[in-house]
């Protein structure tokens, strides 16, 4: 009978691990003054860099909020769970948190993961502040009222970002009318481009699409597209190159386009979304790029931002990215909400978040009480690679487009 026992034992081990973890389920309030905060972010796999920044930013946000006098008597315990940018794993993480009594959750990168977790938080009576997710439908910005009572969004919405880029570039590059587009063939890629195009057109630019190339997500070999692009480029002064890609796709395109000198044959190279990590990865060789996203560290010249950037650099070893700042605002917001509510009770915190005001790098930030969107500006940066600049990225200019210019606020 030995053989059966061994097989059975091997199979029972995971079950007993499972039983142990539920039996020993800790409550979040071992110390009555301690509040548990849960962060869900990609900590492994290809997006691990994002998760690292979100969670580092979150912890710093909590710390600075308390330094600023908010909820100073409370001890906050932060736990991070990996979601691997997978909706199933994120749902499981959220359920695990809430089963354990951690009802205040933050983080996440993609619209899909946020959409998976928001209804769970709603049902369980928790509170969710999404850090980087930018899907239009996650907050009430484009539908006037928030879709989820218990979810609040920190990052500007996708359309806000492309609108901001269009606003600034329509002005600076009014004579650039021939757009060449390269992007990932999925909703964000397509919508970012079409939002931008509509934006510059309504600002009076007589823009038209010269060439467009869309590749499936995950592809990295663009030789055919780059050659065709190169052959079809028009006059430099009126030509632009718009990249509707992210991360590895943007890098691969720039690397492969180098042979055909595409970036120097256009007057404008533009993109939306998290581009700075790409520029840093190119180690001083990045081309001149106009980009719009949630934050850039040189955009704000004040003490609050300086403290954030310096402390982040000290604790994490690199300058913050937009993801770091989004995580930071999420942590800060939770502390501010707990302070305003006078307790960590999820109902009270959710109530306090509506219309909550707290400090940010751009000044006072506020959660719109109807749409649950944090009203914060979009940053337009003009960067170029420079091996002598910090992180190899030199900021030629930054400008800030306030939220009220982009959406209706309440």
């Amino acid at each position: 009978m030995k053989h059966r026992k061994i097989a059975v034992a091997l199979i029972l081990i995971p079950f007993s691990l499972a039983a142990c973890s539920t039996a020993g389920g800790n409550t979040s309030a071992e110390n009555p003054n301690s509040v548990a905060l849960g962060v869900i972010a990609p900590m492994s796999g290809s997006f691990a860099q994002v998760g690292e920044h979100i969670s580092d930013g979150f912890a710093l946000g909590v710390k600075h909020a308390q330094e600023d006098g908010l909820a100073a008597d409370t001890t906050f315990e932060i736990e991070v769970k990996d979601d691997q940018v997978d909706a199933q794993v994120a749902s499981q993480a959220a359920r695990d948190f809430m089963s354990d009594g951690t009802m205040l959750l933050g983080g996440m990168l993609t619209t899909t993961t946020c959409s998976a977790v928001a209804p769970l938080v709603e049902q369980a009576g928790g509170v969710l502040i999404t850090s980087v997710c930018a899907g239009n439908e996650l907050s009430g910005v484009y539908s006037d009222v928030t879709p989820y009572e218990r979810t609040f969004t920190v990052a500007p919405r996708d359309t806000m970002v492309s609108d901001a880029l269009a606003t600034v570039l329509a002005e600076k590059f009014a004579t650039v009318t021939d757009y060449n587009v390269f992007g990932f063939d999925y909703a964000w890629g397509r919508d970012t481009w079409s939002g931008y195009l509509d934006g510059i057109k309504s600002a009076g630019v007589d823009a038209k699409v010269n060439q467009e190339f869309w590749v499936p997500l995950g592809d990295a070999s663009y030789r055919s597209q780059v050659s065709a692009l190169s052959n079809g480029l028009g006059d430099k002064e009126s030509s632009a190159m718009f990249l509707s890609t992210y991360g590895p796709g943007t890098t691969a395109f720039l690397q492969q386009a180098e042979a055909f000198d595409i970036v120097n044959r256009v007057a404008l190279l533009a993109s939306a979304g998290g581009y700075e990590p790409v520029a840093r990865g190119l180690a001083g060789a990045a081309p001149e790029m106009w980009n719009a996203y949630d934050y850039a560290y040189p955009a704000y010249d004040n003490e609050f931002n300086a403290r954030f950037v310096e402390d982040y650099l000290t604790e994490s070893g690199e300058r913050p990215l937009a993801w770091s700042y989004n995580g930071y605002r999420t942590g800060y917001a939770f502390v501010a909400a707990v302070d305003a509510a006078g307790s960590a009770d999820p109902d009270a915190v959710a109530e306090a978040l509506k219309g909550l005001e707290f400090e940010g790098a751009s000044g006072t930030l506020r959660f719109d009480p109807e749409t649950h969107q944090l009203l914060a500006p979009v940053v337009i940066s003009q960067t170029v690679g420079n091996p002598d600049a910090p992180d190899g990225v030199e900021y030629l200019s930054t400008s800030v487009v306030p939220a009220k210019n982009l959406i209706e606020t309440h």
Binding site: A48, Q49, R223, E258, D261
Partner: protein, 293 residues
């Protein structure tokens, strides 16, 4: 017409790197009958080693090639270790089992790469003097693509010649077609297996090193060329080097034709091409296979 020629040429430029990437997989599959899922991880590690050796800087061609050989060497060692400690016990079992082992190896190497090289993406600068393009009449070709073309031809020819025309090649083919018989005849089958796996891994690492200036080098790199590589190996026909080369060029040209003339099909071109080849010629494109059958 010149549009068509230009498209075909850029298709060849698209396909040749795919052949280089798939060459290691072809060798291992042809000789050892293992579909090595860890191939993508070997590729990624080759690229990472390249950036470590060169610090991502632009260097001259000889230095670049030397660094690429270092990467290949590192992967040869990795491949030999993997074969010795993992696969040696699994030959001769049900063919799916080495597949599982290679999958496990893939995941483990992905994790290891994250531990060693961290989460932030890196890049490798282009080779000095080869970062531009050359004009041939109406057609512009990237200089580095010409380098890859030459390298691809060298690799293909070398593999073919070694396997078909040399004594070592004969031994390898003998082990591939009938291991027991080969052993009975005194062929050191174990050494051949380790050797082939090491060379296959080295080729994968070499391809990663060579592709490094063209992609973002991060922990998500492993699956990037996986489907193309498997497609090339399978439609090329059970380990045939010539077949793999033709397959790679077909895929590259199909992609280029789609991009230039049928953009809505652009993402699907790989799958359509593979499906067509398999339905029209199920045994693959090969005439001569590594194992001789």
């Amino acid at each position: 017409m010149s549009d068509l020629i230009s498209a075909i040429i850029s298709g060849i430029a698209q396909g040749m790197p795919l052949f280089i990437v798939a060459s290691g997989l072809t060798l291992i599959f042809g000789v050892l009958r293992i579909l090595n899922f860890a191939h993508g991880a070997f590729f990624m590690i080759g690229a990472f080693v390249m950036t470590t050796v060169l610090s991502g800087q632009s260097v001259s061609m000889p230095v670049f090639l030397l660094a690429a050989l270092v990467a290949a060497g590192a992967l040869a060692a990795t491949g030999a270790l993997a074969d010795t400690f993992v696969f040696r016990k699994l030959y001769g079992q049900h063919p799916m089992i080495p597949l599982l082992a290679s999958y496990a190896l893939l995941i483990a190497l992905d994790g290891l790469a994250q531990v060693i090289w961290g989460n932030s993406p890196r890049s490798q600068a282009s080779v000095e003097g080869f970062g531009g393009s050359i004009q041939f009449g109406d057609i512009r070709v990237a200089s580095y693509d010409i380098v890859l073309l030459v390298v691809g031809v060298i690799i293909g020819t070398a593999l073919f010649l070694v396997l078909q025309k040399t004594h070592v090649g004969k031994i390898v083919r003998a082990v591939s077609s009938d291991e027991h018989m080969a052993r009975a005849l005194g062929v050191p089958a174990r050494k051949v297996q380790v050797g082939v796996f090491a060379v296959g891994a080295a080729l994968a690492g070499l391809s990663g090193a060579l592709m490094a200036p063209l992609v973002s080098i991060d922990v998500g790199l492993a699956p990037t060329f996986a489907i193309q590589s498997f497609a090339i190996v399978i439609i090329g026909g059970l380990g045939s080097i010539g077949g793999a080369l033709v397959a790679a060029l077909i895929l590259g040209i199909a992609d280029s034709l789609a991009v230039n003339f049928a953009p809505e099909l652009a993402g699907f071109s790989l799958y359509i091409a593979v499906a067509l080849v398999l339905l029209l010629r199920p045994q693959g494109l090969a005439k001569k296979r590594v194992g001789g059958h």
